[in-house]
Amino acid sequence: MIDVIEALLHDAVAAGTTYLLGTIGEIITERSGVQNLGIEGMMIMGAVVGFGVTSTTRNVWLALAAAALIGGLVALVHAFLSITLRRNQIVSGLALTMFGVGLSGLLGKAYVGLPLPSKLPKFYVPLLGDLPILGPFLFRHDLLTYLSLVLVPVLWYVLFRTNFGVIIRSVGENPAAVDALGVSVEKMRYVCTFVGGVLAGLAGAYLSLSYTPAWSEGMTVGKGWIVVGLTIFAMWGPQRALLGAYLFGGVEVLQFRLQPYGVSASLLATLPYIATIAALLIGASERMRKRIGAPSALGKPYIRGEK
């Protein structure tokens, strides 16, 4: 029985890493007022680039850097359209997702079905990893998972205890206030969007380099979109992001665990998506109760002089 729980917890965290990395990135982006619906595209580009670079160079670290970079570059396109050109952010994000999914299919054609020559190493944390339940839960994972866990308190500290965080939050709530003090609203949003893209790229690389590990066309199956929903569920805060990501990881794992019991795999596969909708509704009703909401300027391009 303990074995089952331990395995479940371990797998939930592993499955949740993609969600966590992506959500942390999107929280940063959305806190600054930019809605990035292109995460799916950035994620899948990160996946294919990560896989491709590993296959060619056998160097996983280089691959991670490349995946992060490509995620950031695609995010810069979104930033350009949304911030500088002030276009509709939803459509821009959608366009980038389509483009990213298509381009990744093209680039990845050669890698379908290939095994990964060099995997992301798993670190077994000494002593802590031996603990019952907690051990497999948190201490027998690979680097990216540890990174995602570390980023949670880091994000909290940066957002709420540093100058950078004050600026980011202010830019997302009242960009006019920030502009009047001589801080560039645009620059801040570019930086936050880029960071979001970098993390999305890493989230995708995690899928192809550690979680699966393999490359297939469209392998992100909407996880990028789920991240957008998770960001709302997280109320744009790191603690809830952690909770949400691992909850969803758990739902995903449950999907596979329940299959032997005769429930259709396909119907089980709907669980994450239904859960996302539920998460959105929970977030909405909490917003109405606690009156904390999305960053006030979310999705609205900033034009100086407009009230």
């Binding site: 202010s170 009242n174 206030a177 502009d179 009047a180 003090l181 001589g182 801080v183 009230k307």
Partner: protein, 521 residues
Amino acid sequence: MAERRSKEKEGPYAVEMVKITKRFLDVLANDRVSFSVTSGEIHALLGENGAGKTTLMNILYGLYQADEGEIYIRGKRVSIRSPRDAMQLGIGMVHQHFKLVATNTIAENIALGLQLGDLRTAVKFPWLFQNPLPDVERRIKELSERYGLRIDSRSRIWQLSLGEQQRVEIFKALFRGVDVLILDEPTAVLTPKEAEELFRTLRTMASEGHAVIFITHKLDEVVRISDRVTVLRNGRVVASLRTSETDKKQLARLMIGREVLFRLEKERVQAGTPVLEVRELEALNDKGLPALRGVSLKVCSGEILGIAGVAGNGQKELVEVVTGLRKATGGEVRILEKEVTNLSPRSVAKQGVAHIPEERIRVGVVPSMKVSENLMLRNYRTHEFTRGPFLDAGFINEHSRRLVGEYNVQTPSVNTPVKLLSGGNIQRLILAREMSGDPKLIIAAHPTYGLDVGATEQIRQLLLRQRKKGVAVLLVSEDIEEIMSLSDRIAVMFEGRIIGEMPAEEASIEAIGMMMAGMKP
């Protein structure tokens, strides 16, 4: 570098703006404006809405760049390309619409971008990741003791009153060590008592050597607190005087360009039956806090009831509840005896209610759509406009042309998108639309805000005409003079209640002012 010397004092002016010109598309906002302030002086920039005062100060603060002209700070010619340049030169600005982040704490708002001004010494990158709060909170304590202004650095902005928020804005400027402080219409959101406190603070600052510039359209303030005043009209400087050498009448004439009638010609009209009755109305605001705590009032036909009060005391919510845009949590609203509490906006409108909204562009029109389409926004469902489910284009056009002519809406055609119209014409359009339904009750929220003199007079005359026809009018306005000259009765709102009510003849600015500050008569 030319050194400019002032006439009276040793040393250069703190600020000197020379022949500033600024154009926005076809509008000349500032036309060769020259303006100067010395340190230790409180200088008023006086003018009507649209005279160019805010534009001029926005140029000084770096939010806009002048097309022509020069700026000298302490005798040195400078180029101010952004607020950061302005701050580095020691210029700070407290805007009319506060630039505060509502969900953040006071300390966080003051800490925002704090050290960017001291960029000469700080290296940017590490600063980004430092925690500014302990330092800021300590300095807030010091400053509040020095200037006698209390603030709790951990409160969040949305919890503060407007007067307290303004205090935070002033703190922000003081933190950066400003030499020149610009205030844009600072008393617009203050009670008379809070305004007194502000003036005391400004005098302290001036005596310490700061230069204070404040933008206003209120003659009282100019006379009370300024050392010198510059009057702007239609983008030009009309006069620059020592306050002691002029009076309100002369200033008013300079501001408007002709003799001002301080009171409108108003006939006596017999008030009739009650049209609008509000009893013990309760409602929450957007933040879930009580905004209306038991409001009761009555407006009869042929009567204008003016609601005075500092913005934020429930007027907005009152208008919204009466027009069906906000839920009432208690009490009732009756129109012509019929209960309409919490009915939909459409049902309320059907009772013969016209609503002139406070935010005319954001709420009152659809800017991208045509004039004709906007003119039918409220009654497009009636049988004249439609043939079955279809819209009757012929009738719509004819109706629009008629209204445009009748209300003097200046537009190239009825098919012009409304966003190309000026503010005054948009308001005329809204009035045309609302009046055409032959309303029995008009709810007018700040109807002349931001309009030029011509439009303002036209709208006031229109309201008086409707009153003569027997229409009941509920007028909400921040302009006490407007309330006093238009209303038959005046009610003052304070903290969600009607704190006092009186016939207009018995009202005085002092009495209203006291009620606005919460003192019962």
